[in-house]
Symmetry: C2
Subunit: 349 residues, 2 copies
DNA sequence: TTTAGCACTCTTTTTCCCGGAGTGCTAAGC
DNA sequence: GCTTAGCACTCCGGGAAAAAGAGTGCTAAA
């Protein structure tokens, strides 16, 4: 059943009013918003209909109306006006993005911080690998007889390195050969295969050098595991305390500890919609049943995308959040595009 | 004026009782704790004295007593018994520390997480450099004509690396020479000097290679700056919500956002006391005037120390926190000691 | 279909009162 | 002189009752 134009108008007013004040809206307040085109009795009739249709709810008999999840959904899908950012806002975003660029991980989590402080809600970020990463290249740098630096470049162009100590000395002259060995046998494959290869080498390579290879392969395995693990970072969790829906300390605590200790279960969007909004009970996770999440994704190089999610009460200011978040996502895509448009490529499998 | 033995005993009971229950202690409850050696009237007299001396306070005329900051201070300095950890506790700490070891930064911030969940209060961590770091070694690894990997090893044995793109191509054969140049002129010195040297090279080295050097030196500069910046990590901030003193959401919010947005102003201990306790108003920072901080430091390699601070209400369980924290600090020192002394050995067990 | 009017419901705020907890003081006891 | 019993007093916290508000739903008329 299609709603009349007027019902939609009223619904919109209720949603936006409730978003702004966190107070249920009564018929009188609505009439005011409509600049008196209509009487409060009429509005009451409309409200009764909207309530019956499931778009509005009444906290108790003699209170005003608040939106139901369905009401928010309708609002988000049809009624919400795409806000444009003011020049000051875009300016501010651009400024905050323009700082020194660091490693990919760090940038991703910093982006989360920026978004959080800019939208005024907690956020979380994930780096999502479309396909499993592999090692593209190894390099061993001798420090002295008993230590060396392992450098590992992954297929997503990340480079990691670590200083490693050795139980048994290995002459630095050996290192180029060992690097070569690693590069010919251990690139482009997964952790499991790396381990198999390693086993098969155990009788071809002598003890101390085998130990060295073992260390490096293990290290690479950890790095690959880390990229799979899709580490989630959360930012600004304390911002929820600003909202009256979390004045109840226990609720606040539940949500916050969920965001911190259970990060992995924060929603990630399926498919590749640029932006997704999950309202209250649409969230699978119990801890989020009374909260909403807005998730945007942006591109990071070849086969990765970044996700940034905004968490807030169902009464979240969807229009503003969506506008800011999507601008942010676009800017981040552009930025990573520029950063990563190095010449990748070499051997492919 | 020196307190009598009995006054101290009573003060101790009040402090510990209040720490345990967050309720003011009355004379009757105290008598009970003293197993009736003394009447409640006597206790009341003693309480009146202790209040007059400034060690106790009364929330209102007909409530029991709670410790004043001075009372806590006396308790911490003289009355508190050094708790020993139970075997289960040491076991648990050892277990949580025994995981895979990663880079120094990551370990430090992970240590903070562990401490936080183990003591049940929020924590923060800092890596404190006793003297400025320098670059110990550079290494350049060619990827193709237009990109290369810069590896930088710092004087504190950290190794960092990054993939870099070039505006102008540089033949890979050039890289060893450039590395050598870097290693001879840019190691062991500060950022300022590096820049001076770089300038003086500008007419000896041609354009594309100069650009490359410039990039690497800039990168090294950032790394050095980062070690100076003493980045602060906070963990488990939401734990404060468990405590009744922060049931007031605004107070909780103040403290949490301070810990998150103002990390840099969290106290770091002066001198090199192994552990320091700051009680309520002893904290310089307004946001911490009603909270206490326990800070421990531990050694990380050559010229660095790590700090881990525990933040809680003034009613914090000092004895337990101090015991756990100092055990943690010792274990961390030992662990970093082992990790950083390059030729380790596995033995004992 | 819209509107004015009104009784009704439910929440919130205020007020008042009472019981409990704990104190400080006084005067007597050791 | 220290300790103790006794007691009046203060203050907080909780609960009941009352008052104030806010907003509704319904009816009947425009």
């Amino acid at each position: 059943m299609e709603l009349t134009r007027r019902k939609k108008e009223i619904l919109k007013i209720v949603v936006e009013g409730y978003i702004a004040t966190a107070e249920p809206m009564g018929s009188k307040a609505i009439v005011e918003k409509m600049s008196g085109k209509i009487s409060s009795a009429t509005v009451r009739n409309e409200l009764a209909d909207l309530t019956e249709l499931g778009y509005l709810e009444q906290p108790h008999t003699s209170a005003g109306r608040i939106p139901s999840p369905a009401g928010y959904r309708l609002y988000v899908n049809e009624l919400m006006e795409k806000k444009a950012l003011s020049p000051e806002e875009t300016e501010e975003i651009n400024r905050s993005l323009s700082g020194k660029m660091a490693g990919t991980d760090e940038m991703i989590s910093r982006a989360g911080q920026m978004v959080s402080s800019f939208v005024g809600y907690p956020t979380y970020t994930v780096a999502d690998h479309k396909s499993a990463a592999t090692v593209r290249r190894f390099e061993l740098i001798g420090v002295d007889e008993r230590s060396f630096i392992a450098v590992v470049m992954l297929s997503d162009s990340q480079v990691k390195s670590q200083l490693m100590a050795l139980e048994l000395p290995v002459a630095p002259e050996q290192l180029p050969r060992l690097s070569h060995l690693l590069n010919t046998h251990f690139t482009g494959i997964g952790t499991a295969e790396m381990n198999t290869h390693l086993m098969s080498l155990s009788d071809q390579v002598d003890g101390s050098r085998f130990l060295l290879l073992n260390r490096v392969v293990e290290y690479a395995g950890e790095l690959l595991a880390k990229t799979e693990r899709q580490e989630v970072f959360t930012n600004g969790a304390s911002q929820i305390l600003k909202f009256p829906e979390y004045r109840d300390v226990d609720k606040a605590h539940d949500l916050m500890s969920f965001m911190v200790d259970n990060k992995e279960n924060l929603p990630v969007p399926m498919g590749d919609t640029p932006m997704q909004i999950l309202i209250g009970p649409e969230n699978v996770n119990d801890a989020l049943k009374e909260s909403s999440v807005v998730i945007a994704s942006y591109d990071i190089g070849d086969n990765m995308r970044g996700l940034v999610g905004v968490v807030g009460p169902t009464r979240m200011d969807y229009a503003t959040v969506a506008a800011r978040l999507s601008y942010f996502a676009e800017s981040l895509s552009a930025m990573f595009g520029k950063k990563n448009q190095l010449p990748p490529k070499e051997e492919e499998e």
